[in-house]
């Protein structure tokens, strides 16, 4: 049985992890496997509050567990973040385009994430690790506001401990106990071991960070065509009907959220959009 993206389906929360002060991961176990591609999102419904688009942060190879990571920043996400194990999480999806995991086969993969932007990329990382032999080098560059704002800290430790993954974490402002890097995530690109000619970069974070990352990748020798990023707008229907998430000629919920950079770069430069 497939999930009808038009029908909100309630699932019982079986696990909740507090990633940071304002960010939680909620895990549900659907009755039937929930098949999705890395980078896709679901609409999550907080009863009586509304619906929001949230990226799926779990392993696509484990469709019996549906994982979302969200930051409490408004009415709906506050309500969702307050849900506890046993509560009902209403899900509609999956929607949107996915990270180019097929196109990236045989290439090095460079993941660049900022803040909560690691969530939509986590599903890609888990996919690549599950199919590790299909890919070349894997580097994960992650920037956060402080060391207390690092999402998926356990994952980062685990990935960083592998011999076949390069992990570089940097924070804007470290606590006195922080011994790692301090600075913007673009500053670690030129410290990373990758072959620009055979690399696919996947970037997610605030738009200004993605623009500067794309610029730094170009300076490192990559072509814009090798760079993919994910955009976010006011998604409502999830199926390209309502037009709320329109950006120029793009309906991000349907045509995105993941795009090759050259396709959206001109739109990202238009200040009125």
């Amino acid at each position: 049985m497939t999930h009808d993206p038009f029908i909100p389906t309630p699932h019982r929360i079986v696990e909740k992890r507090q990633e940071t002060l304002d960010t939680v991961t909620l895990v549900v176990e659907p009755e039937t496997p929930f098949v999705f591609a890395p980078g896709q999102f679901n609409m999550l419904y907080a009863l009586g509050r509304g619906e929001v688009p949230i990226s799926i942060s779990g392993d696509p190879g484990e469709p019996s567990r549906l994982v979302h990571t969200l930051r409490a920043v408004g009415l709906v996400t506050d309500a969702l973040a307050a849900l506890e194990v046993g509560a009902s999480l209403v899900v509609r999806g999956p929607f949107g385009s996915s990270w180019p995991v097929e196109e990236a086969k045989g290439h090095d993969v460079l993941i660049v994430a900022g803040g909560i932007g690691l969530a939509p990329l986590r599903s890609t990382i888990l996919h690549i690790l599950r199919h590790r032999e299909d890919y070349g080098r894997l580097a994960i560059l992650y920037g956060a506001r402080t060391d207390h704002d690092l999402c998926f800290a356990d994952d980062l430790h685990e990935w960083g401990g592998r011999f076949d993954v390069e992990v570089r974490v940097t924070v804007d402002r470290g606590s006195p106990a922080w011994r790692g890097r301090q600075g913007v995530v673009t500053a670690v690109i030129d410290k990373t071991d990758f072959d620009p000619a055979r690399t696919v970069a996947m970037v997610c974070g605030p738009e200004v960070m993605m623009r500067h990352t794309a610029r730094a990748l170009r300076a490192a020798g990559m072509k814009d065509e090798q760079v993919y990023l994910t955009l976010e707008r006011n998604m409502k229907c999830g199926i390209g009907q309502c037009g709320h998430c329109q950006l120029g000629g793009e309906l991000i919920c349907r045509d995105g959220p993941v795009y090759p950079y050259p396709r959206v770069a001109p739109l990202m430069r238009i200040r009125e959009l």
């Binding site: 920037g143 804007d172 402002r173 006195p176 011994r179 890097r181 301090q182 600075g183 913007v184």
Partner: protein
């Protein structure tokens, strides 16, 4: 090529310098090592040299009572110590080794008159310095935006 010249030539600072420039700078260079937590430069003290980091990591810090504010960390490939090029030739902030760090230290006191005497060489060194300043200024601007809170 000497070992010092090879180390210098491999550093990003030297990317646009000629072999002769590298040889000139190497005559003013020596290898220095720093242990974790060692204060390398202290604010307001005379700036006599600059560092081309080879390995390890250093912190750029500012004393702000009651503590110290970590402004930025710099890894191998970074250039540290621009104050040696500009009056009043004193450090603008503290530099502390976070990890065991190795660097090429270039004598700024002896370099400064050479930049004046050989303007072509001086221009290329200043361009290299400007490139690193430009890169760090861009990063500082991004840093100031507090990106992830938006």
């Amino acid at each position: 090529m000497t070992d010092l010249q090879r180390m210098l030539a491999a550093h990003p600072f030297a990317a646009s310098l000629t072999d002769d420039d590298v040889a000139r700078l190497a005559e003013l260079a020596c290898v220095e090592t720093f242990v974790p937590n060692q204060v390398i430069y202290r604010e307001d003290e005379p700036a006599r040299e600059f560092l081309l980091l080879q390995s390890g990591r250093v912190a750029v810090e500012m004393h702000a009572p009651p503590g110290v504010v970590l402004l930025e960390s710099l890894d191998a490939g970074a250039t540290v110590g621009w104050s040696t090029f500009f009056p009043p030739y004193t450090w603008g902030c503290d530099i502390r080794a976070i990890e065991a760090t190795e660097a090429l230290a270039i004598d700024g006191v002896r370099l400064r008159p050479l930049l004046e005497q050989a303007p072509d060489f001086g221009l290329r060194v200043m361009r290299a310095l400007l490139a690193t300043v430009h890169q760090r200024l861009e990063r500082s601007r991004l840093h100031r935006m507090d990106l992830y809170q938006r």
